[in-house]
Subunit: 424 residues, 2 copies
């Protein structure tokens, strides 16, 4: 006879992650063409570059031993220096940043979690683009925090809508609960949107202007920044933070090099460094040091840039495949539209209002029947604010080959046509 | 002009970690002989074994790509299978364990954090040996949980004292807040104590008997289990869990192979697996997959056992150096005593009642002046329950060479003598 145990409040908040159900679907139907997963292309993973870096790392015994030993909570100093140098080289910041402000984490997700843990009490509010990165919505939910969607378009969060939202929260007495504004300003996951420099500046200005009694931080999640295929690079949101106290930058090598090595980082306002590191010390007592030394060696040996350049070529090719297939198969369907992103891994698709893309709607099952899996757009909407667009979906071109992307879009178009004709 | 930000309650709870101050002391005094750090011996780190495993891993492109790709939240299946096989080979469990119950984490600290996060609300109580592992006390504190020390001796937590504590908590109406009993049953950090099979059985029996209305889990932190130098191996605490619902086992390769690769694991009751994985998905979206594939390869190639056998020889030698030096230098001092552990990395020392070992007492500064650093015992005591013994210290023999261990003990004896004579 077993006595039941009680879950913590946190554990209760963490239940029912939609992405797990999607992955279960994919596993149960191995023949499916998954346009759902945000994984990177297995074929492009840097086996040779990793081997060269590991060889170099393990050849020198003191270096090798240092990599195999415990590291420090904020991370390996030479890596943090290299990350900061790279950042400053392309982002003229008005307020200086020191190496102390760079903290290395196990992927940028861990950085986002640590920052959320440091800033948010249950009931606190984070303003997000609508739609936004679904895993971060899970993190907020797990903390009992409120996610609130701000109207967004193909240049990301709309500053006027942000201001309206802040005014509305002031009226309802909720402004004191707003702790952060979360942006994915480069090739947003899922919308593909890239914020213009003007919008970046405006969001930072609004965060500062509405910081009354307490600071509202701007979290700039740059997971996809390296994966730019067309257009100009935009300056970091940090470039518009005159005092250097407002913007938190999150970065990662997961998309640009290897998610398995799993090295991310944050560039934090000076006074956030200690609180974030205190959390980190209690949560994992330091991220894997070997991974950090390995990535430092990859950068030192000049192996990173050529790899990411190859990635750009390859993903740009796949993006074109997806856009061409979309034109061919989705184009003829009335009320279906999408925008071409200039980087990243995702194309965001709107269907006619009447079509529900979620697991409760017909399309999801019909699409699986036709052999294709997508991420229902509803999972990417914050819990409050901007209403959920249940007629949207996220398609990823990262994992599949061009022929399978094309076959997937053909199946998807067939499924949409079936649902629109009212067949099953 | 910068607006102040508000820390979360969590962040406030996480402030003031004593270990950070100790590390700062060590860094500020590089000539110090640190007997404080629980690091492993840099010279013994497995450079060759790691190279062999990495070579094997990266030689086969599909294997290599899988290691560089995202993994799953519970971890790499072949590694989890190998961990379970190893566990079952030396621990006859009365209730079956499946691979599903094995979850891989970034070190055992992450597992402990995830379990604490899953089970504990602020104000909940975890019963610990007194003294106990100081980093876990920090984790509990960070969650707003209460740590409560149970009287312990050289066989660890005393079951009769545990029962007295539970009875006392029942009387004060606090029994409903007791969620777990935390043990480090092999070569405890810091006490060096190993629990007898009888005590293990008794603690599990008590946990089950006192599980009224809700389950009280037993967390068995086996970080040092592989580092056994003398005596017989004791069966896992899990061997006394007839229903398989009470005991959580935490393990790690940090001490037995490499803390830099940072792979730990948990063996969980069936109904804890999903809640723990839900937390994990939100906190780091999966532990580094490359590290997991690397450790799986280390096990597969038979590189682990020879390495840990070398470690046992080397650390046993260092333990003997420390015990001999203790006999020689501390032995003549009245009121100073310690016990010889049969494994692990620590010797726990009692000084006369009048000597305070903490940073506020004289000994700590005098010892630094004499060139040696130790961990003040007070940091290792839970916040409530068994009173803090301020006259204790933890000495680690893991990092230093035998001559430096000897020199460190000589300096420490000199410092104690100075303080006892009332000089400064």
């Amino acid at each position: 006879m077993s006595t039941a145990f009680r879950l913590s409040q946190r554990a209760a908040w963490a239940e029912g992650q939609p992405i797990s159900d999607l992955m279960a679907q994919a596993l149960a139907n191995p023949d499916l063409i998954s346009l759902a997963a945000g994984f990177v292309d297995q074929e492009t993973l840097p086996v040779d570059a990793t081997r060269q870096a590991v060889d170099a790392l393990l050849t020198d015994p003191p270096d090798a031993q240092a990599a195999l030993q415990y590291g420090t909570t904020p991370g390996y100093l030479p890596l943090r220096e290299a990350l900061l140098d790279r950042f400053l080289a392309s982002n003229p910041v008005p307020h200086p940043v020191s190496t102390r402000q760079v903290v290395v984490t196990a992927g940028s997700n861990q950085l986002l979690h640590l920052v959320a843990e440091t800033l948010l009490n249950p009931g606190d509010i984070v303003l997000c683009a609508a739609p936004t990165y679904l895993v971060f919505l899970g993190t907020l939910n797990n903390l009992g925090a409120r996610s609130l969607g701000v109207t967004s378009d193909q240049q990301g969060m709309i500053p006027e809508a942000l201001e309206d939202t802040l005014q509305g929260l002031e009226k309802t007495g909720d402004l004191a609960r707003v702790k952060a504004i979360y942006l994915v300003p480069y090739f947003d996951n899922p919308s593909g949107a890239t914020m213009t420099a003007q919008r970046r500046a405006e969001v930072v200005r609004l965060a500062k202007r509405w910081s009354r009694g307490h600071r509202i931080h701007v979290i700039s999640d740059c997971a996809y920044r390296e994966l730019k295929y067309t257009g100009d690079d935009e300056p970091s949101v940090r470039c518009f933070d005159e005092e250097g106290d407002t913007v938190i930058v999150a970065g990662t090598f997961s998309k640009s090099f290897s998610p398995g090595i799993r090295v991310g980082w944050g560039i934090l306002p000076e006074d956030l460094v200690d609180p974030v590191c205190n959390q980190k010390g209690n949560i994992d007592f330091g991220s894997p040091n070997f991974s950090q030394h390995l990535m430092a060696k990859v950068l030192e040996l000049g192996l990173f840039e050529p790899h990411v350049e190859r990635l750009r070529v390859e993903y740009h090719r796949k993006l074109r495949c997806m856009l061409e297939a979309a034109d061919e198969f989705l184009g003829p369907l009335s009320g279906v539209h999408w925008a071409a992103p200039s980087g990243g891994l995702y194309v965001w698709v709107h269907l006619p209002e009447s079509v529900r893309t979620g697991p409760q709607g017909r399309l999801f099952d019909v699409a699986i029947g036709e052999g294709v899996l997508y991420v229902p757009g509803q999972f990417c909407y914050p819990r409050e604010g901007e209403p959920v667009r249940a007629n949207t979906m996220r398609l990823s071109f990262g994992v599949q080959s061009c022929p399978r992307i094309r076959a997937g879009l053909e199946s998807l178009a067939r499924a949409i046509a079936i649902v629109q004709r009212g067949e099953s």
